[in-house]
């Protein structure tokens, strides 16, 4: 009898049908993979299990009995714990406070008891972190270990991990997978969400594949190889991994010399692809290049202006969600007092705006109308709009930060192709990405961002291991 069974769940968010008949059955003492590309509904499914999403229809059963899980509190009471994709620690509270949060116990909580309880939990699961430290000061991998320890301490029988390896260096990934194997041996049931096929084939017993909100396969992993899994995931053969464009690098277009700012400790750079674990300086670097973070020292020399930036967070900093497609497209031009041809003397010329929007929609295959609020666009179309806007400025330097995060396979390929095309056309392209595959597919030259400093990869060392070592700080091997 499965420990947890999710049967035929449906869920609609506004105009989007996130789940249309998703099912999953979890056996005790197993590691179950939940596979699917971005947007397939994996996170929605597990959030329904965790009581954070109310399914429109379908059934959830635990220990064979149907249950209605209306809140995380109820899920925890049933022994179900979820480690979210993005850290769910409260940044401003200490590690100890985060660990103890939500735990039942005495009402009165003096400092001594707080730290004792936290130390017990952290110690039992081998997490070497200062209980008094603020959660926001932890590295991403450490945060994850705290969250796992916390879940185990609450007596979880089912541990769900949503894309846990996205934020880890390759060696940390191995350590995590090792931990999961140990937990399985102790009888834990684990759901591992991932779109990384190698990880799944490494440790999982069973796999459930979601495509467009529907379970398309659920079977033991034995005998399935990565190619077959890929085909199940996408419904077609996966496109072959791309390769960096074969062009001769031109003269230096962007030079960053000795950059120091909060989070950056001295960057020297001449245009490459940048790998690194999130939190090592990508955001400060992006903010410096966007002009929103002041420099403490060093300078940015833009030798081939203008510079256009594809922001990492398209919903928060890349686009104004409540404005229309057309308005977002020309916003930078409005920022500079209203540049022609769309603006004339500060006034908007509707005909020119319509023309600009139509052109962008056609060229980049954006599935939307010019007046649609950007909020209603899919992630892929939003990102294509960002690309369209960036290219309107005819940049000499294009900086793209995590350009394909959260995009499905089709949109990912489209964006990467466009970046290669720009490079071939003579634009200097800097890609900052936390996806190793992306870095290897796009980067003619590769460097790793570690604690705000750059570690360049010698030409002959283009391998995941070499990059992975530098992601953890080991300089030239």
């Amino acid at each position: 009898m499965p420990l947890v069974a999710l049967r035929d769940l449906h869920k609609r968010f506004g105009a989007t049908q996130a789940l249309r008949g998703a099912s999953l059955e979890l056996e005790p003492g197993s590691i179950h993979a939940l596979l699917g590309e971005n947007g397939a509904g994996k996170t929605t499914l597990v959030r329904a299990l965790y009581g954070q999403v109310a399914p429109d229809s379908g059934e959830i059963a635990v220990d064979g009995k149907p249950v209605a899980i209306a809140s995380p509190r109820q899920a925890l009471a049933l022994g179900i714990a979820l480690v979210h994709q993005h850290s769910m620690l409260v940044p401003a509270l200490s590690v100890a406070e985060n660990v103890v949060l939500g735990e039942r116990g005495s009402a009165f909580l003096p400092r001594a008891r707080l730290h004792a309880e936290a130390a017990a939990v952290l110690g039992r699961h081998g997490v070497a972190v200062e209980p008094g430290a603020l959660a926001e000061s932890l590295a991403v991998g450490e945060m994850q270990r705290v969250e796992i320890a916390r879940a185990l301490a609450r007596g979880a029988r089912v541990l769900v991990l949503d894309e846990p390896t996205a934020v880890l260096a390759p060696s940390e990934v191995s350590a995590l997978l090792q931990l999961l194997v140990e937990l399985r041996a102790r009888g834990m049931s684990i759901v591992l969400i991932s779109h990384k096929l190698e990880e799944i084939t490494a440790v999982c017993d069973r796999v459930t594949v979601l495509r467009a909100g529907e379970t398309v396969a659920s079977r033991p992993l034995a005998g399935l190889d990565a190619a077959q899994l890929g085909r199940l995931m996408v419904g077609d053969a996966l496109p072959p991994p791309g390769r960096p464009p074969e062009t001769e690098p031109g003269p230096v277009a962007l030079r960053l010399a000795g950059l120091r700012a909060e989070g950056l400790a001295g960057i020297e750079l001449e245009l490459v692809a940048l790998a690194g674990i999130d939190g090592n300086g990508q955001r400060p670097l992006e903010e410096v290049l966007a002009g929103v973070r002041p420099l403490d020292a060093g300078r940015v020399e833009l030798l081939r202006p203008p510079l256009a930036l594809l922001s990492a967070d398209r919903q928060r900093t890349g686009l104004v969600l409540d404005l229309s497609v057309a308005e977002n497209l020309v916003l930078p031009e409005a920022a500079h007092g209203g540049m022609p041809p769309v603006f004339h003397g500060g006034a908007l010329r509707s005909a020119e705006l319509a023309r600009a929007a139509d052109e962008a929609i056609a060229r980049f295959a954006i599935r939307a109308a010019p007046d649609d609020p950007v909020r209603t666009l899919s992630g892929g179309n939003q990102q294509k709009l960002c690309v369209a806007r960036a290219l309107r400025a005819r940049p000499g330097v294009l900086v793209a930060v995590n350009p394909t995060r959260g995009l499905d396979v089709g949109a990912t390929a489209a964006v990467r192709d466009e970046l290669r095309a720009q490079a071939r056309a003579g634009t200097a392209v800097l890609v900052v990405s936390t996806e190793l595959d992306e870095v290897l597919e796009l980067g003619q030259r590769i460097a790793v961002l570690f604690r705000g400093v750059l570690l360049e990869l010698p030409a002959g060392e283009r391998s995941r291991e070499a990059i992975g070592r530098r992601m953890l700080g080991a300089a030239a091997a």
Partner: protein, 293 residues
Amino acid sequence: MDAPTLLLIASTVRFATPLALAAMGELVAESAGVLNIGIEGMMLAGALAAYEVGVSTGSALAAIAAAIAAACMLSLLFAAFALRRQADPIVSGTALNILALGATGSLFRLLHSAGGLLARAPRVGDVVPGLNGFTAGAILLLAAVWLFLARTRQGLALRAAGERAEAADAQGVPVARLRLAATLFGGACAGIAGAALVLWLSDVFVEGMTSGRGFIALALVLFGGYRPLRIAGGAILFGAASALQFRLQAAGSSVPYTLLLMTPYVLTLLVLALFAGRSRAPADLAKPFRARD
């Protein structure tokens, strides 16, 4: 210590107490993530309720209870829109203030349409010579709020709800319930502050008598950096400024009294200008929270 100085100190404490009471309540509310700018209106409603019930029953205790009840009713209204319907809290709070101003004004006029001399409300006296009941209450409140927020499990859960509601929710903390309770507590404190205006500082109700004290209390929370002791210090500072200003008026200063009356507001602006930017509000303050999609 000579008589004028003693009087000044007493005056300071008298002005500071309602501010401190309201500010403590708002501190708890904001710590849970609720920005309630309607405490001005809640204070006013508390003042009217305290006056009317006080006069008709003659009991100060009943008056205070009525003040709390009136303020809590308004808190519920605020919560219904700002928390449940997730309407913008600034707009909801402003609407609440307008409502309170209009409702207390019209109620008061309707109740006293016959005119004539206004009855006096019962007074709350000293529990210990020199220490008024309200001030004693404020001191106890200060200690209780600090203890709750800093040293209890529920207080931790409340602070988590204000810093990052989704993380608190993921750990099983009942965010919506905590925010509602915090809002009611804030309202109750504002109500008690209003009662203090009518049962101690004055003994009748006057339309609009809060005169911005609720907003000064909001500023005090910022000024005190969300720390109870510092907030109390700020309240004393303002109490002193008000006391001094009255002293100057009484002493026949050449400065027109209208300009002197500006002192608390100008002082608040100054204090905000110096300290607001530096104080770190709970990260999820005034952000709506949806527990379940």
